[in-house]
């Protein structure tokens, strides 16, 4: 299953790109409208890019009245990314949403304390506020991301989105001042892939809930690696900026990678990276079971 990473696609300006995905994830919605940070907001680096957009969004009310109805017309399953500056704000926004495929809680916003207790408290409040599937998007900067994953799982999350960007800084070559007006920004792109793999790998061994893996995916092989690390869906981020057709290409490449390994379905590859665990998935229940045993055999 291929999605976009939140903030990496506007389905209204690029509906065909949104339709090439299994689900469209919105840019994060907050209670109040946000213009975002002053420019300069983006900078390319040697192996990735920085962004400091600042959760620009029309605010919850305008999203619900103006944007969401137009998104529904696209007939693509919708994941709504929800952000906030207090537990109550997250929960109120979740309560206001209905008839969408899932809610992704952006728990890795720079203005939110990311301690697992707080992330778990937010998830617990949102759990009380909605019956919709809740995915918790965690930062890879946590000291022990598996601990954070266990905490949000215990609080009622239905899944994890791994990972958000890492904080990074770029300096202008001439002035040696920060390129971004805000100073630091979120680092994404190819350099993030090993970080994402490590996070997915650690969390897949720690929790039972499904994981959407993301971070530096550019190819079908990158997607397969995240699945092997334990993800059951993959999201595309920075690659969509360079290639709006990335979903179509990555899907075809993934199919070829699976076929080359005699694997019939992407989920057949799930968890293959875990040498001591063989993971199987009940596709109907979407629940992960950990079965002690040998590593699944892979024929190249």
């Amino acid at each position: 299953m291929l999605l976009n990473a939140s903030g990496c696609l506007d389905a209204l300006t690029a509906p065909d790109v949104a339709r090439s995905l299994h689900a469209f994830v919105t840019k994060t919605i907050t209670r109040e409208p946000r213009g975002g940070n002053a420019p300069v907001r983006i900078a390319e680096t040697e192996a990735g890019m920085l962004n400091a957009i600042g959760l620009a969004n029309p605010g919850r009310d305008r999203f619900l009245t103006d944007v969401l109805p137009r998104l529904r017309e696209l007939a693509v399953p919708l994941w709504i990314s929800v952000g906030g500056f207090s537990t109550a704000e997250y929960a109120e926004t979740c309560a206001a949403l209905e008839a969408v495929a899932a809610i992704e809680l952006n728990l890795s916003c720079p203005n939110i304390d990311e301690a697992p207790e707080n992330a778990a408290a937010i998830v617990a409040a949102c759990r009380d506020a909605t019956g919709l599937p809740l995915y918790a998007k965690l930062s890879p900067a946590a000291w022990d991301i598996a601990e954070a994953a266990r905490a949000v799982e215990a609080a009622g999350a239905d899944g994890l989105s791994l990972v958000n960007t890492l904080r990074g800084l770029a300096l202008d070559r001439r002035t040696l001042r920060p390129t971004l007006a805000r100073g630091s920004g979120g680092y994404s792109g190819p350099a993030l892939k090993p970080v994402a793999l490590a996070a997915v790998y650690a969390c897949a061994a720690a929790v039972e809930i499904p994981i959407v893996g993301m971070g530096g995916v550019r190819s079908g092989l990158d997607a397969l690696e995240l699945i092997a690390a334990g993800a059951s869906a993959v999201a595309l981020g920075t690659v969509l900026f360079a290639d709006p057709g990335a979903a179509v290409r990555v899907r075809a490449e993934l199919a070829a990678e699976l076929a080359a390994r005699d694997l019939g379905h992407p989920l057949d590859a799930r968890g293959l990276a875990h040498s001591s665990l063989q993971m199987t998935v009940s596709r109907s229940g979407n629940k992960l079971q950990k079965v002690p045993g040998n590593r699944a055999k892979v024929t190249a």
């Binding site: 002053a38 420019p39 390319e44 620009a56 900026f241 360079a242």
Partner: protein, 220 residues
Amino acid sequence: MRRERLSVRGVESVGPYTLLRVEQGGLDAGIPGQFFMLEAPGRVLPRPMSVCLAAARELAFLIDPIGPGTRALCALEADHPIHVLGPLGNGFDVEVERPLLVGGGIGIAPLPYLSQQLGGPPAILGFRSERHAEAAALLPGAEVCIEPTYVTTLLPEERHDVLACGPEPMLAALRDLVPDAQLAWEAPMACGYGACYGCAVELEGELKRLCVEGPVLRAA
């Protein structure tokens, strides 16, 4: 919005700039002032470039090699394929009565194609040096000034429909002098099609995406 892998037809020096010529393939050349995202070999993100010339099933882009992406584009050789996405954004409104083209530095890039569509209207161009002014050859007949003389001092008294592209201080000065001017702005862009929100500029008191709202905007 269409993306194709197209062969470079040639690369030519124009003063300190480089004219990168790419086969047009199945892409629409678009309206002057619209832009394309060009794959910069070895870089993570493509670079936004407006069409400088469109003829003979070829798109040509005038590029100033100021950073790693633009240098990679200028170092391309004939037959090398690159991905090209576009045309993107809103171009100039060419339904004007008395066009006057105003360009500054690398901002002259979209003017040759615009001039071609408007039947060769008058043009005034400003550059920072004699060497940069060699690029004026792309717009035969244009009036040229070199710093410290600015294009704004060459603006004629009588009313014209100003269509301009150049550095921000030049566009800001024109905005004040010619309230109905069409100005082509630039901003760093990751995607060019509204996805990244990186190219935000302040319009009517709000931050908006230049790739969606522009890059050509009315001064007032």
